[in-house]
């Protein structure tokens, strides 16, 4: 090892207060290096919209359960929460045991929980402080906040319970969180196994301030092209509200692959591959040309694959998809995609992907904070192949346009 030059002036270094980051560490300390990136790239001068971030609704589960409308289901859920050991934060949910694999056995503490000290603020939920801390550290102007285990609700064995829990969460979030911080926005989850309930959801919440779109939690067996959804799509199109598809894990995939790495690498992409294929091949972009569609949290590497694969097939089998008037990839270029987790292991491939998808106008930066594979705004700001305007578009201006943000 090299030895230092002996005659240098000596100063006193400062011991950091936090020597090891744990689940108890303050978000601002965890993200201190992101704050440094903010200064390095001048990100405070950017308009930054984070189109995908999370809070943990199970931390507030008793409050959510109180918003279940069906009196019997509410009674049952509260009885389970009250009587069964450890069920207070899980009752009636389908929380997948595999979710506890995400933090790589304690290596990534913020994925497990944000158990930091939060001084009580009268009438305010703790999650508001957590969201504000992350926004401050990453210089975010607006953050779209989603639930977490609820993203797997499409795999719940009971369709009725899915509908009741989704609606209970939506009522809770739009009363307890959303009105208290104007910088928080959301795309509310749809009870997607019940098309009529989806429509009622859009009509009940579509005008609530801060609701900037609606969401399909992608991990489910439903076909997005089923006739029952057409009134939903028409309603969203008419209201100018984007429809997002948020990817999620499928732990049943462990029957086919044996490691969490494999489950995560595949299932966060395959669910959206299925829905995008059905969306395009069934001609939904032709039927609802003004409906804006956003693909969330599948990364970017799948996009050029899908473009090439679907174009190749359609050119040979046009009669299978006669509603299409353009190549599948052309419809895909009209859609929007969130950036995280951005695959950065081959910058040439990444640059080609940006070109293929028209990233300058179609890509929306997202952090996915506080999840284990989150991205900071510095990930976009540091890309040398992007122009200054492209960086500004991806970090916030595209989202401003897509969601009609101030």
């Amino acid at each position: 090892m090299d030895l230092p030059v002996p005659d240098l002036p000596t100063r006193q270094a400062k011991r950091r207060a936090v020597q090891e980051i744990t689940i108890h560490t303050d978000t601002r300390e965890i993200l201190a290096n992101a704050r440094r990136d903010t200064e390095r790239f001048g990100l405070d001068s950017y308009y930054i919209v984070d189109v995908d971030a999370h809070h943990v609704e199970l931390d507030s589960w008793s409050e959510v359960l109180a918003h279940i409308q069906d009196p019997v289901l509410r009674y049952n859920a509260q009885a389970i929460a009250r009587n069964w050991p450890y069920a207070g934060n899980l009752a009636m949910s389908n929380h997948a045991p595999g979710l506890t694999m995400q933090d790589v056995a304690g290596r990534i503490p913020h994925q497990a929980q944000l158990a930091e000290a939060v001084p009580p603020i009268a009438g305010e939920h703790r999650d508001l402080t957590l969201v504000r801390r992350a926004m401050e550290a990453m210089s975010i102007d607006l953050q779209v906040v989603f639930p977490q285990p609820m993203l797997g609700i499409g795999m719940h064995p009971s369709a009725q319970t899915e509908t009741e829990l989704v609606l209970a969460y939506n009522r809770w979030f739009t009363s307890r969180i959303l009105p208290h911080e104007p910088r928080i926005k959301t795309m509310l989850a749809l009870p997607f196994r019940d098309p009529e309930a989806c429509l009622r959801t859009v009509r009940e919440f579509g005008d609530v301030p801060g609701v900037i779109g609606f969401l399909v939690t992608s991990q489910r067996q439903a076909q997005v092209n089923s006739p029952g959804y057409m009134r939903l799509y028409a309603e969203l199109e008419e209201r100018g509200l984007p429809l997002g598809f948020h990817a999620g894990p499928d732990y049943n995939m462990e029957r086919a692959v044996n490691r969490f790495l494999s489950v995560h690498a595949l299932s966060f992409v395959t669910c959206n591959m299925v829905h995008l294929t059905n969306w395009v091949i069934n001609g939904l972009p032709e039927r609802f040309p003004k409906l804006k569609v956003v693909w969330i949290e599948s990364g970017l590497a799948w996009i050029p694959f899908m473009m090439q694969r679907l174009d190749h097939e359609w050119l040979l089998r046009q009669s299978d998809a006669p509603l299409l008037k353009r190549l599948p990839s052309e419809y895909m270029r009209d859609m929007y995609y969130t950036s995280q987790p951005m695959e950065v292991t081959d910058m040439d491939l990444l640059q080609s992907t940006f070109r293929a998808m028209k990233a300058e106008t179609q890509l929306l930066w997202s952090s996915d904070w506080p999840h284990w594979d989150f991205d900071t705004p510095g990930r976009i700001a540091g890309l040398e192949f992007l122009s200054e305007q492209a960086k500004r578009n991806i970090l916030g201006e595209n989202a401003r346009r897509v969601f009609g943000l101030p």
Partner: protein, 129 residues
């Protein structure tokens, strides 16, 4: 990877030798540079507190021995184990893992942390940053 120091480098008194016990760590701010100092088999290793993956605070991460898989004579996996001779540090942002002894990524050694010059004189630890 060799240690480097810039033209405007400063020698920083990071603390007492006892502040970094065997298999322990000390994270300090040396001016604008955050530095982690570790001791393995008596030797000190110092790195900039910035992960080579995405700039996370690598030196404030979990220290955990390298994980290895065990194969039998058929080359079938029969279990896993910790290699206690190779203590790693995992970045708390995303989990990227490096050998503390080499500063190199546990899976792809070409990816490495920036090593900071460190010395121990008269019971004090000094870094140049």
């Amino acid at each position: 990877m060799g240690a480097r120091c810039s033209a405007a480098a400063v020698r920083w008194d990071a603390g007492a030798s006892a502040d970094v016990p065997e298999r322990g760590r000390l994270v300090v701010d040396a001016g604008e540079t955050s530095v982690g100092i570790f001791r393995i088999d008596g030797a000190l290793h110092a790195y900039e507190n910035r992960c080579a993956h995405a700039g996370g605070p690598i030196c404030q991460g979990l220290m955990v021995p390298r994980v290895v898989e065990l194969l039998d004579e058929r080359r079938a996996i029969i279990g896993s184990a910790f290699d206690e001779t190779d203590l790693n540090i995992a970045c708390p942002w995303h989990g990227a893992e490096y050998s503390i002894r080499t500063g190199r990524h546990a899976g792809k050694p070409a990816i490495a942390l920036r090593r900071i010059p460190v010395e121990e004189v008269g019971g004090r630890i000094y870094v140049i940053a």
